[in-house]
Symmetry: C2
Amino acid sequence: MTAGRKRAFDKSEALDKAMRVFWENGYSATSVNDLTEALGINKPSLYAAFGNKEQLFTTALERYMSHYGLPLMERLTQPEGTPLARRIRAYMLGIINLVNSNESPKGCLFVKSSCETGASALSEDISLSLQAMRQANEKALVKVLDRERRRGHLPSTAKPRDIAEYLLSVLYGLSVMAKQGKSRNELIRIVDFAINSLSIPDD
Amino acid sequence: MTAGRKRAFDKSEALDKAMRVFWENGYSATSVNDLTEALGINKPSLYAAFGNKEQLFTTALERYMSHYGLPLMERLTQPEGTPLARRIRAYMLGIINLVNSNESPKGCLFVKSSCETGASALSEDISLSLQAMRQANEKALVKVLDRERRRGHLPSTAKPRDIAEYLLSVLYGLSVMAKQGKSRNELIRIVDFAINSLSIPDD
DNA sequence: GAATTATTATACCGTTCGGTACATAATGTC
DNA sequence: GACATTATGTACCGAACGGTATAATAATTC
């Protein structure tokens, strides 16, 4: 072990708190003071542990995606015997719980951050990594749908990429709807309507 | 006419420019200096003409909705003889042109602003008026769909409110997708997929 | 043309911004 | 225990923030 005074706070817990502050306020509207207050540490500790505001945001965003976004993907393939439509529904219900929970800020940090993209707010680096995250998400979705098609759970004429892009659009829309104050039940109704419209065969 | 020196700038043009700055940067990431530079006026002129930053934003947002959002609604009812699916498509293509144009910032100011809702960024007043705008939009959409159903252009079992909420979700998603760098053609593909899924009768 | 009214430009207000210098305190290595 | 190393708390940096006081400049009313 290297020498030096031990860090007095849990870095992982601090990152969690920072993620929540960004989730609540967005990048631009979050000040370093907001962060140090929420984390209960001083500025030099924050800068020593996380670099600067932008780097902390990037780290928090990656944690958000790996901690909240990625685990939900499993619902698309498991449990094994479940019909595809039901698995997609379970996935989307997971997203609803994410964007409309009493335990966390309304909306999706990823969507919120994507909307902050542009001229001056978020750096080009962050914009690009947001795009990369969406591409990865889309790719994973296409992969699942492609496999389902090969297994006969989707018509052979179905286009996995089209379905994936469409589903992502609906999901992004759900996040905005949540921010707009829509209730959990209203969001579920939207998801059910979207899935019924897809008219995926039952087996 | 009241006495006093004449305003040296066109207030309407200035509001247009302000709207565009907010559209590009969002509320939080836009400074009053950004605004005065874009408008080519001094701070006292801005404050005299528009109140303060928040009031200017509110005015710009209302202009955005009435100038860009409202006119598109006509496509849902006209031209008279066109099938409903085609009218909905025309409406959504209009939205695509709005959120992905070379003449204006990518994305939708309304969606972007809704995402800035929350703890500290946007005031409670603005959040509420954003909600009111969405409700009005939704209501208008429901009204159109209800009329179409009565005319037999939708199954009698169709639920206008469900369809309206669903369509709005897709539209909001399109705005996020545009921010994510999706091309016009990709957005059109999403809209076409969504409309085909709806499987609205052709007449 | 004097009085009044509104807009302009400059310069400034206190506050907050992101970020850091510096001294002190605590840990490991030797 | 001396030393190197790392974290902490305080206090501060220049710059930018939203907003305004003040005085000069035009325009209208009478």
